[in-house]
């Protein structure tokens, strides 16, 4: 990924993230989040994470956000008025968040000294980020989390169906 691509993607990502948080209409907020997730998928492709990028679109942009949009449309949420939209702790929240981002940027950047993340340490192994490499790790070292995640998804699906059913 070269600097030019990074700058363009970063501006678009931050722009759509701000639109998610600040736009008064929930539908436009959700659509901005879809845009942000698709941009993130493109970002992942540039970072040699091919499978994760495709999965980002399949799972997040294609399923989770459709669910969000369904709920917003079923509840028929309209554009909100100014008073309803923002909480009372506007100033303190903004100050806290500015402090947080400054602190994180300092420590993740050059200020920490211990992390030394300025340059990439080594060449990437061949086939990095492809399905073969991912599944090799997934089914050998990570097989227990994999199985537990399957059970978790089953539990979540059953739970969602039970919760959303009309009490007969």
């Amino acid at each position: 990924m070269d600097l030019f691509t990074f700058i363009i993607l970063a501006i678009l990502l931050v722009g759509s993230a701000m639109a998610v948080v600040l736009h008064p209409s929930p539908v436009y907020s959700a659509l901005s989040l879809v845009v942000m997730m698709s941009l993130l998928a493109v970002y992942f492709l540039f970072l040699n994470a091919h499978v994760v990028g495709a999965l980002q679109i399949i799972v997040y942009a294609g399923a989770v956000m459709v669910l969000f949009l369904f709920v917003i449309m079923l509840l028929n949420l309209q554009t909100e008025s100014r008073e309803n939209q923002q909480s009372e702790m506007k100033t303190s929240a903004t100050i806290l968040c500015l402090v947080m981002v400054a602190e994180l940027a300092f420590f993740l950047g050059k200020g920490g000294g211990k992390l030394e993340l300025q340059t990439s340490q080594q060449e990437l192994p061949a086939g990095f980020g492809t399905m073969q490499a991912l599944s090799e790790r997934l089914f050998t070292d990570f097989v227990l989390p994999f199985e537990i995640t399957s059970v978790l998804l089953l539990v979540a699906a059953v739970g969602a169906v039970v919760l959303a059913r009309r009490q007969a």
Partner: protein, 100 residues
């Protein structure tokens, strides 16, 4: 090749925007979406570090985070629907059942 700390700073920025969304907005669904935004920011930093150290473990963790986030989104939205049925609102300030 962009230095890795650029990716991490971008991830921190997105995470903070998500945190701002959780604190500032009162619509429960938008709060939920801001949480998803924070999860995506964390995914970004995992993938960037996976590329930095040449290890697939970072991408695997992203895989699991996606699965768990999908499960959480399903259950959370079901809860919001249920709450809407009783209280007719999704404004977090008005959802104060246990008081009064």
């Amino acid at each position: 090749m962009v230095p890795t700390h650029y990716h991490l700073i971008l991830s921190a920025l997105l995470f903070t925007i998500g945190a701002m969304g959780v604190l500032l907005r009162r619509n429960t669904i938008i709060i939920f979406m801001s949480v998803e935004l924070m999860l995506n920011a964390v995914n970004l930093s995992f993938v960037a570090l996976a590329q930095h150290w040449g290890s697939m473990d970072g991408q695997l963790i992203v895989f699991f985070v996606m699965a768990v986030a999908a499960a959480e989104a399903a259950v959370g939205l079901a809860i919001i629907l249920m709450v809407f049925r009783t209280k007719e609102t999704v404004n977090a300030d008005e959802l104060n059942f246990m008081r009064g």
